[in-house]
Structure formats: structure tokens, C-alpha cells
Subunit: 172 residues, 2 copies
């Protein structure tokens, strides 16, 4: 059931936000961008999303100003989060934490660590060591006790089995 | 494009969360439940969602343990958030704030006020007056500068033009 794209009868900023990121693939693409995925092929392989769908979702995110296209190392386009896209981190982090709370009996699948002092940053964004709320670029994603090793690891999943600083490009 | 329901290849708690709340209507239903909407007819009229879709989404939320069915005043079923459902507030709040930031030029459409001291609670959940993070039940939703009065107001929209404590039933 598709939502009408033009949602003017909904005087709500949640509805507006969901017009842009309300597709499930879309938030997974945004999550991957936070993890440092930049290349079309890496998104496709990590997400297992059909390439036509990925093309459409990436174009919509660029049009909405959530992602920007930048030239990559080998002349291929890469996708990076804009300032507007970075603003989605609290929403991504909150949904991740809720998923961990209710669908990961062995504990969080991933832990977000403050690079400066090693504090494990709570879902509300506050570092227990320094009491500050580190910016996204100061967080390191670390495998948590609930992370299962995928049966058929793709390069992105493999890279994320080791600590990885958010936004730093993943070498696929 | 539907996501496969069984998403076992995605070892990610965000993917799990989106299996449950990844439909756009679903998060709007959850938002309404935070605002105190409890009755089928009120959800239907406020959201403008087809009744068959609403029936299906409510059933899925009950099955997932996000909503519970309770007997209402006139023998009709009502839907209320469970503890698990209440845990979605940070995600709903974050997406609302992001929508306000980017799609509401006149400012936030709704403000969330700490009932105890009148502080306008920031998107990160912290009250600037007392420094604490009030629980959902201690928040009052107040029209913000960006709220447009709907052309054809339904009872829920009308109720929310005045301050309204979250979770308190809206009298449709």
C-alpha cells in the first residue's frame, strides 16, 4: 500500500520525514552510509537489494539532499551523507537500539564507542566517560555480543567485524 | 518494492526494527498512539488511511507487542502502547525533529513540554529547565509555530490544537 507522495493533509513533521526516508531500504542505505559505505556495488552487495531498486533509492536520497554524489578514487561516483543526512543519526541510532532491545537476545549487535575516550555511547548519544554527546565522526562502531557472523560475508560485513570509525570509507 | 519479511541475512537490529515499524503508516499509527489516539475510528479519520490497511497495521502492531488491545468505554476495543511500544518514542521524536528541521520553515510544528516545569524538551529528550529526561507520560504536546490548521479538521487534529498530555486518551 503506497502512501500518497504528496502528503499535504498531514500537518506533521514525522509524515514529512517519512516521505523522504520511509521506505525500509532507504533507512538501511542511510545506515550503511553512516558505516562508511560509499560505492554502488558495496551498497548492493551488503544490502542484497536489487540494483534497480538501489538506483531509484539513491537517486531519491540525492534529490532530497540526504546524500551527495562525489567523485570516487577510480572515477566512479560515490555517495556521502550531507549535513542534512547526518541529522538522521539520532533516528537511525534509536531504531537500532530498539531492535537490539527486543530482537537480539544476546545483547547489542553493534556498540558505538567514543573514539576519544573509549566510552560506550548510550542510545541517547551521551558518552558515560566524558558526559558529552560525541558527533557522529567521533564514534567507532564495534561488534557487540549479539552480532552473528553472516554465513556468506560480503566485503562490508567483513570490514564491520573489526572496529570501524563512522563515515570513514569502507575499503570493499 | 516489498522487503522480504524474513530478513535473516541482515544481521542488523535496524533491519529487525524496520520489519516491525518500517511501513510509513505504521510509525504514523504509533505516533498517534503517543498522542493519545486509542480508537479505530479516530486513527482512521486522523490518518486518512483506508480502513482495511489500518486493520492490517493495527493487527501487526498487536502481534508484535507494540500495541495492546484493551476494553474501551463503550465496549469497543481500544489500542494502547505497551512498554515495548513506548520504547519507540526516541525514534519517533528524532524523525519528527528532523522533519521540523528540514520541512517546516516556520519552526517546529509541535513542541514537547515537560509538564513538571514547563521546559521545552529538546529532541535529545533533555529538559532545559531541570536537566532531566522526562518520561513520555510527563510530556505535553503543544502546537508550535509551524503548525498549520488543517482545512478539514478531524476530532484528533482539533484536540491537538490545545496542549495535550502524551498518552492521555483523546476524546474524539
Amino acid at each position: 500500500m503506497a502512501l500518497p507522495k504528496d502528503y499535504t493533509s498531514e500537518a506533521c513533521s514525522l509524515a514529512r520525514a517519512l516521505e523522504v526516508v520511509g521506505e525500509r531500504w532507504t533507512l538501511l542505505i542511510v545506515r550503511d552510509a553512516f558505516f562508511g559505505v560509499r560505492r554502488f556495488g558495496d551498497f548492493a552487495e551488503h544490502l542484497g537489494v536489487p540494483r534497480a531498486v538501489l538506483t531509484s533509492r539513491l537517486a531519491a536520497l540525492v534529490e532530497a539532499g540526504v546524500l551527495a554524489v562525489v567523485p570516487g578514487a577510480h572515477g566512479r561516483d560515490e555517495y556521502v551523507l550531507t549535513g542534512k543526512g547526518l541529522g538522521l543519526w539520532p533516528a537511525v541510532r534509536s531504531l537500532l537500539a530498539w531492535g537490539d532491545d527486543h530482537y537480539s537476545a544476546a545483547g547489542p549487535r553493534r556498540v558505538f564507542r567514543h573514539a576519544a575516550d573509549g566510552g560506550d555511547v548510550a542510545p541517547d548519544g551521551v558518552c558515560p566517560v566524558c558526559g558529552a554527546a560525541p558527533s557522529v565522526a567521533d564514534l567507532v562502531v564495534v561488534p557487540g555480543p549479539g552480532l552473528a557472523v553472516p554465513g556468506r560475508p560480503d566485503p562490508v560485513s567483513t570490514a564491520l567485524t573489526a572496529p570501524h570509525r563512522l563515515l570513514e570509507p569502507i575499503k570493499g
